[in-house]
């Protein structure tokens, strides 16, 4: 014989609080609504940002500054990550290929993995931490110190002045950093293969050329551009919505990094499903 307590999750019988089906459905609905609201807010924010693109006079002079901060200053960390990724990847490939697979496939694996996946994703995650947190903290601080209110009072559009240059910088400079990371990653894998493995330079190049396609580079660069868009948008939206002083700024920075990382992985899967799958290149 079954009763309600064995069928429904019981929260606290002592306090006589029983989770009823209506309450469970309410929870699901609330979570769904929150998610959809978040997506709606992001969509509205994105729309406002695109509308603000028309105000070139406001964001134009600021863009190169942000490009330098977000892109050029992020080059060392991107290339550093790619350097070691290439080395580790070549060693890992040679370890996996022992005996069964010709060693020149190390070149194939390093090229494919670096250009299509690791350079965009690892660099994106690193820049999500660096750039996303930076934007969220900067804009959050401006929000809690009412600088943004002051800008609005002075007649500036906060989106044109604060968001557009950052988003454009992210969209343009993420692929640049990732492109450099691709070159450095493959080069480091090449050097590691020659120096640490019994693999000649010609064999590595043969492996790279074996299945190389221009699509590999295009795919990685477009993907990294979308990562840049999402990281800067999330950083901006979290920063502009910050409240509650320094604690609110810290929370905004943290959530910006977390959401950016999740968005990068979701976008990675999105591109794989929509573009990689079924593409004959």
């Amino acid at each position: 014989m079954t009763n309600a307590s064995t069928v429904l999750p019981e929260v606290s019988l002592g306090a006589r609080r029983v989770l009823r089906p209506s309450r469970a459905l309410s929870s699901i609905g609330r979570v769904t609504r929150t998610g959809v609201e978040g997506l709606g807010a992001l969509a509205r924010f994105t729309m406002r940002t695109f509308e603000a693109v028309r105000d070139i006079g406001t964001w134009g002079p600021l863009t190169t500054l942000h490009m330098r901060r977000l892109g050029v200053d992020s080059m060392p960390i991107g290339m550093f990550i790619a350097l070691f990724t290439g080395i580790v990847l070549s060693l890992l490939a040679s370890y996996s290929f022992t005996g069964a697979v010709p060693l020149y496939f190390v070149g194939t694996l390093v090229e494919k993995t670096i250009t299509m996946e690791l350079a965009p994703v690892l660099t994106g995650l690193a820049l999500a931490g660096r750039v996303g947190a930076n934007i969220a903290a900067e804009l959050g601080t401006m929000r809690v110190t009412e600088q943004i209110d002051a800008l609005e009072t002075l007649g500036y559009d906060p989106h044109a002045y604060l968001v557009v240059p950052r988003v454009l910088s992210g969209v343009v400079m993420f692929p640049v950093v990732v492109g450099a990371a691709m070159v450095v990653g493959v080069a480091s894998g090449w050097i590691a293969s020659i120096g640490l493995l019994n693999l000649s330079s010609a064999d590595f190049v043969k492996g790279v050329r074996l299945f190389f396609s221009g699509f590999d580079v295009r795919y990685g660069l477009v993907k990294s551009g979308s990562f840049g868009l999402m990281v800067t948008l999330i950083g901006s939206i979290r920063g502009l919505k910050a409240s509650g002083g320094a604690e609110g700024v810290g929370r905004a920075a943290t959530t910006a990094v977390v959401y950016s990382a999740v968005a990068i992985l979701v976008l990675d899967a999105f591109w794989a499903v929509t573009w990689l799958l079924g593409s004959d290149r």
């Binding site: 190169t64 500054l65 050029v72 790279v208």
Partner: protein, 334 residues
């Protein structure tokens, strides 16, 4: 500060774009400035060949597949770019085949004379020949097809092995062992026999050789005779021989008629002889049966005995006459 930002960002962006583009072109071995020669081959099916796969001449990488496109008549055209220094073999054909077990394909340009002895390949090449400047091409089966066939063969072998296992029990093994032993003994005997008769075979061989020599000599003689016949024919002697032969044939016909007449006379004589023998036979029968005087004379022993005693008496009489003639003869004159 702002100008330095612009410069730095521009320089970095430009450097990354150039580096990435250069690296991509280098890896793709892009033919900048058309420094390579183009070759097009046509196939019914290109298997898993892809743009960028290697083109190989006599095992040496000579270029890459530049494009693969569908063409009219159900053909697939494969455009390849080759190093200008590379020379195509005479009567070239293109084979698409796997270069490794890992899905790697390549196009091999080879002379038609070096094609593998495979009916399918030959048929594909024959079908794709005649496309003008387009080289004929054939696609070799990939590893998946080969392994499928190998799997089928393995299944058949397993079936056969299973049947052998069923049929080949311990008794069969014993019998087989015995058969092998018998076969070994037979082999030993055979080798012994061969050793024994090796001399005979030599002799036979020598005889055969001499027979062949004789046959050669005979053939030479026949050839000489033939040549003589030739020469005789040319000198008119054959006509003479033919005339003589016809003359001889006429003589023979005459002789044959005489022989036929003689044969008829002989058969008449034989009839008379038969009659004579029949008569003689009846006389002899009568004699044997003691009929008639002669029969009685031949068959009556008393007559013989009387005759014999008469002769004895005659001999005594003669003796007495010789001894005393006067007793029996008296001569008186007057």
């Amino acid at each position: 500060m702002k100008r330095s930002n612009d410069f730095l960002v521009g320089a970095i962006v430009l450097a990354v774009i150039l580096t990435l583009t250069g690296a991509t072109l280098w890896v793709k071995q892009t033919d900048i400035g058309e420094r390579r020669s183009k070759v097009v081959a046509r196939f019914r099916d290109v298997g898993n060949a892809r743009v960028g796969n290697a083109v190989v001449i006599r095992g040496v990488r000579a270029g890459t597949i530049e494009a693969i496109e569908l063409a009219r008549g159900g053909w697939v055209h494969v455009r390849m770019n080759l190093d200008r220094s590379m020379q195509l073999p005479s009567s070239p054909v293109v084979l698409l085949n796997e270069s490794s077990l890992f899905g790697e394909w390549q196009a091999t340009i080879t002379p038609r004379s070096a094609l593998p002895h495979d009916e399918t390949v030959q048929a594909q090449i024959g079908e794709s020949t005649g496309g003008g400047d387009v080289l004929p091409g054939a696609t070799l089966p990939d590893i998946a097809r080969l392994t499928a066939v190998a799997g089928q063969i393995a299944g058949d072998v397993a079936n056969v092995a299973g049947r052998v296992e069923v049929a080949f029990d311990e008794r069969a093994a014993r019998e087989l062992r015995g058969s092998i032993r018998n076969f070994a003994e037979l082999s030993t005997t055979l080798s012994h026999t061969v050793r024994t008769h090796a001399g005979d075979l030599d002799t036979l061989s020598r005889g055969l050789q001499s027979a062949v020599r004789s046959l050669n000599q005979t053939a030479a003689s026949a050839a000489q005779i033939a040549s003589r016949v030739d020469s005789s024919s040319s000198a008119g002697e054959i006509h003479q021989i033919v005339d003589d032969m016809s003359h001889a044939a006429a003589e023979l016909r005459r002789t044959s008629a005489q022989v036929r007449a003689m044969s008829e006379q002989l058969s008449a004589t034989q009839g008379r002889l038969d009659t004579f023998l029949t008569n003689g036979d009846s006389v002899l029968v009568k004699l044997n049966s003691g009929q008639g005087s002669l029969g009685l004379l031949l068959n009556d022993p008393s007559l013989y005995r009387n005759g014999d005693s008469l002769l004895t008496q005659l001999r005594g009489l003669v003796t007495e006459v010789r001894a005393n003639p006067k007793k029996f003869v008296s001569v008186r004159i007057f």
